[in-house]
């Protein structure tokens, strides 16, 4: 057996836009041309940087940054070379974690064109506080009932995932369910997803942090217990047992 199974994906039941792990991805729109240097922070530790150029000459509408490349797990070496990405204006910076323990946030700083990363002009974005237009993608695997909350507000809602059933054909991944967050409310606030179906949160608030956490696991058939009393002992004397 040489299977490589992504245990972090199977074990993650707390998906948080403020602390990115496997199954939680964040897309941030970038409208104007410019150059940025991003600090990648895992927990409290700054584990690396990357440069991002919003370039009118670039044709790609999204820059995919796999934060697992910055994981401090011993077997993953820290990046020795600063990674560089580019994206077209009105495109997206997509931050995700393909494996590993995760727990990242990213701070995006604008720098003057052609200047070094040390010459930061201004902090433009911190993933711990979502901005309007941000898209948070939660790919829930563990069956059960989840609570979705805005950690920086009061919005709450529920998402349920059914226990997977054996199928004759491979499970089809349905189109994601889109959930908007506006006026500190999720809409819809009760969502029933199918297995593998993702929840895509479209943020319309100035400050938000979306968290989706498992509240009640569904154990499927393991949960089923026989109903009623299978056997009752009767006191042979006919008197009530004390």
């Amino acid at each position: 057996m040489k299977a490589h199974i992504n245990v972090y994906a199977l074990n993650n039941t707390n998906i948080d836009s403020a602390s990115l792990r496997v199954l939680g991805s964040l897309a941030h729109p970038l409208t104007d041309p410019g150059e940025y240097v991003a600090d990648v922070v895992q927990g409290e530790i700054n584990v690396g940087t990357f440069r991002l150029k919003v370039d009118p000459d670039c044709t790609s509408m999204q820059a995919d940054v796999d934060l697992s490349k910055y994981d401090t797990k011993p077997k993953v070496l820290p990046p020795s070379v600063e990674r560089r990405y580019s994206v077209a204006p009105k495109g997206y910076l997509l931050l995700f974690v393909s494996e590993g323990k995760g727990g990242f946030h990213v701070i995006l700083n604008e720098i003057a064109a052609g200047k070094s990363a040390r010459e930061k002009v201004a902090r433009r974005y911190d993933t711990r506080s979502l901005e309007p237009g941000d898209v948070f993608i939660a790919q829930l695997l563990r069956p059960g009932i989840y609570e979705m909350t805005n950690s920086l507000g009061k919005a709450k809602g529920r998402i349920s995932i059914p226990y997977p059933k054996p199928l004759a054909k491979p499970l089809f991944q349905k189109e994601p369910e889109k959930i908007s967050l506006r006026d500190d409310k999720f809409s819809p606030d009760h969502v029933e997803l199918e297995n593998l179906q993702a929840a895509v949160f479209m943020n319309g608030m100035d400050h938000a942090a979306i968290q989706v956490a498992l509240q009640e696991a569904d154990y499927g058939k393991e949960k089923v217990k026989p109903e009623g009393t299978a056997f009752r002992w009767m006191n042979p004397s006919g008197k009530p047992a004390k």
Binding site: K2, M61, D66, Q139, A168, N195, Y219
Partner: protein, 303 residues
Amino acid sequence: MNQVTVAISEETFRRLFATIRDHFHESTSGHSGGAFSFSWNIGVRLQNGSIDLQPDDSVRLSELDVVYDPLTLELGIDIPELCIGGFCIIPSPWGCILRAPKICIFSDNPDIRLALNLSGLLRSELSGAFSIKTRYRIDPSRTAGMTDLDAEDAGVPNKWRFHLDPIWLDIDLIDIPDTVGAILDAAINNAVDNLLFWLPGWARDLVKAILGSIVDLIRAILDIGDDIDEWLSNLLGVSIGLFDFVSTIVADYFANRYPVFEFEDPFPILGYEGIKIPVKIPVRNVSVTVNDAEMILDSDIGD
């Protein structure tokens, strides 16, 4: 010179054949690659079969069962990479503006190994026609200076041997019972459970649901299609070359290794009696003919 004729009835011939048939036991093992890797360990035995002496100086063998025991196959299969995500989040008339990342649950083409134990379940049927080949055997252990008496005392006398020399052999396709399909399916499920054994039940069920029918998936990887009989026959007959192996080894066994009948030369008439040495008669010019009732040996005796 005197001549002797000995006749062996068809019934006696059948008993002689049964004795050498029951001593037959050969095996083959090996491994091979390709679309999927496989290894095998196969033992071959012979059972049943009917012998008919023919008027044309030949012996007809029919319905000899070739029993494969043990018959174990191990198939190595790569389950394809299994990823989720990659769907479009923000579409546009010009293509997808934002696409979700792909997260892989399985990667690096995880291997599973299917152990199939089909011992005693499969049978082939072998038929053929043989002539009787006469051979004179001098035991390699007999030294040049030995007399016939010395050779008898040492247990290495010369012998006349009569082998079944194949004229043709047919081996029919394997008789595959319906249970083989169930055994394969159980092996697939066991292999996947072994691969995922350390995962919680829900994760195993989810992975199985993602893969769909794991049995169908692996059957497709193995290119089994609807007909497991044809697939297994092809695997054993073509990929492993089992039928060639059986035909060759059976032909060699009867033609060269084990005679259907043999006797010593010189032929012992009287054994040791007190101080008297044994009486032995040389046998020369042995010939064999077969008719539909008996096998007849003609020979000259004496010097």
